[in-house]
């Protein structure tokens, strides 16, 4: 049985289908322009476009740009081209498509209900597990999952993000400004590096040709934030997600991750220029939002994969979680021990610590405490704001 999508008779041809596909990818967060559509069409002339797998490979090379995108591409490709005969709404470019393009922007939020459905009907990135195991097809399964999922757009508004951004910027500055006192050679500097100039002038017979300068090197501290979005944390996630969005937008070197039962990197999604759209994209990624929590396993996963690339001794790992773990506590201590070996500082912000008479009694939290450099409360944005002085001391 062929699973290839059947297109309507009024479909104007391959070029329109391709732009429909690119629009589908764009809506799922891949950053593609008009030039890519053209390139994709040309690319298909160089392979046997009648074979789905060759088309898939060719389009994958053209349309993706990083590993996250490459991993998701297969699902996106299937949901558009191999949809079991069903046609998604966006195949034929028309008025409905232009409307759904605007849906995620802050200006046009009224159109969200209609367009939002269109976006989700073909958004398999939110549904890797459930939708695939369902034999009937992605469209139906994804819709059911979406009803169960809380929409983060509802719990975060733009003024929260603005406030969080201001706090995050101050926090970022508190962590970052660790410039060395010793000046080193730099292309742009405030002082002249005489020793280098004299040394270089030897090669040109004593004539100083190049003016070397020096500057205090930046010892930037990077933040990697891991936010727990499991069920027990759901009432605090409003604050934390706004904070993450703010942190990301204030400092381009910040990394952000969500975890519940598994870990998702949201750095790319949060870097979107439009704050509300960033949070909307995040909500697509947080499938299983408000579900169980496997903190230890998620941190270990982080330590084994992303941390190898992004975490070093100049990184502050910020964990936003209540420490209620469904895994045995040794998972947590092993994971944190492994993470600490990379030389980073670990800050744990626990919303429960703001409660009166709180003591860290949950098994996971007890296991984690020896590895934490700074343990603090964080219930509201104001709490996060107060962190600033503490972080400078770290």
């Amino acid at each position: 049985m062929s699973r290839v999508t059947l297109f309507a008779a009024r479909d104007p041809g391959p070029a329109a289908r391709m732009s429909g596909f690119l629009a589908h990818l764009r809506q799922n967060g891949l950053r593609l322009g008009v030039a890519e559509t053209e390139l994709a069409l040309i690319a298909l002339t160089h392979v046997n476009a009648a074979l789905p797998n060759q088309t898939r490979r060719a389009l994958k090379a053209v349309c993706t740009g990083c590993k996250d995108e490459a991993d998701r591409f297969d699902d996106l490709f299937d949901s558009f081209w191999l949809n079991g005969g069903k046609v998604t709404q966006k195949v034929v470019p028309g008025p409905s498509q232009t409307r759904s393009d605007n849906v995620h922007s802050s200006r046009n939020r009224e159109g969200q209900t209609g367009g939002g459905d269109a976006g989700q009907a073909s958004a398999p990135d939110a549904s890797s597990g459930e939708a695939e195991s369902d034999g009937i097809g992605k469209l139906i399964a994804t819709d059911v999952v979406n009803f169960l999922k809380k929409d983060l757009r509802e719990i975060v508004n733009s003024s929260d993000i603005a406030e969080a951004e201001a706090i995050a910027r101050r926090l970022g500055a508190a962590l970052k400004d660790r410039r060395s006192r010793r000046r080193r050679e730099a292309r742009k500097g405030d002082k002249i590096h005489f020793r280098k100039i004299i040394r270089h002038s030897l090669a040109t017979g004593g004539e100083p040709l190049r003016l070397s300068k020096k500057w205090r090197p930046d010892r930037t501290r990077k933040i990697a934030a891991l936010c727990d979005v499991s069920g027990s944390m759901s009432i605090y996630s409003k604050v934390f997600l706004a904070f993450l969005a703010g942190l990301m937008r204030a400092d381009p070197y910040t990394d952000a991750y969500l975890f519940h039962t598994r870990l998702v990197r949201i750095t790319e999604a949060l870097r979107d220029k439009d704050a509300l759209r960033a949070v909307a994209r995040m909500s697509l990624m947080a499938d299983g939002f408000a579900g169980g929590s496997k903190i230890g396993r998620s941190i270990r996963n982080f330590a084994n994969t992303y941390a190898k690339r992004f975490v070093n001794s100049r990184t502050v790992v910020l964990i936003l979680s209540d420490g209620y773990d469904t895994d045995p506590p040794f998972e947590m201590s092993n994971a944190l021990a492994q993470l600490k070996k990379r030389g980073c500082k670990v800050i744990w912000l626990n919303p429960l610590k703001g409660w009166r008479d709180y003591t860290a009694t949950s098994r996971g939290m007890v296991a984690a405490l020896p590895y934490i450099d700074f343990f603090s409360a964080a219930n509201t944005l104001a709490d996060l704001d107060r962190l600033e002085q503490e972080l400078v001391r770290l």
Partner: protein
Amino acid sequence: MTWSDLQNKMSSQGYVASDDLSVALHLSVSLERPILLEGAAGVGKTDVARVLATIRETQLIRLQCYEGLDAAQAIYEWNYQRQLLSIRAAAEDGQTGASVEDRIFSEDFLLQRPLLAAIRQEKAPVLLIDEIDRADEEFEAYLLELLADFQVTIPELGTIKAVTKPIVVLTANGTRDLSDALRRRCLYTYVDYPDRIAELAILNSRCPDVSAKLSRQIVGFVQKLRSEELEKVPGIAETLDFAAALMGLGVGDLTQDPVLLQAALTTLLKTQVDQANVTTEVAQRLAGRAA
């Protein structure tokens, strides 16, 4: 040439490429687009460029990126020493400033660096820009003009257009995120560790002396080892070294001699922690399951 031709030619040169990679390379060659290869260290990203150059019987121009790499070392530089000598000589002859200036900013005083050299070859070379993520972000910006239009602008000379368009292969292993501008201009493929069948094919083509049974064991062992928790996961080069070490030690069967196997593990495990973690018992268990 179709992509499967390319795949066959590469495998005749001893490079077993996955279908994804072959299609992407084929498109990169036929569309004249740069290709960006990402993947862990030791999966054979750099080798792609070498093999491609061999297949097309052309030169391989390599630019190894590092922190602080700048345009002077990558694109072009003026030969200051010669310019200075020329100025001194001209001053003694009593020449005017204008004529001297014209002369010292000419081709004769230009030192070509890899990127400029790559676009001025008679036959299109393969340009390998290795580990681009090690270079600073500013350097990416220098690259954009070259990758999009295959031209280099030298303020004193004007724009130099490519004689032939080189095949550009960029590699990265994720020490930092690359800019969107750079990614947009490239085709992209993520190169993963090979699966069992592919790795067996690589081992057979590179080390034909290894017996069929031992090579199956070696590949099984390394594949199992990769799923263990290691700080540094062994790549393909390590597998080949391991096979060579076993051959050198005269091992015919992995389960045969625990001591020799442990000795040969130094070719696979490159950190002290990993070596401590993979004890003789663990190695034996892996070897037993791989057999």
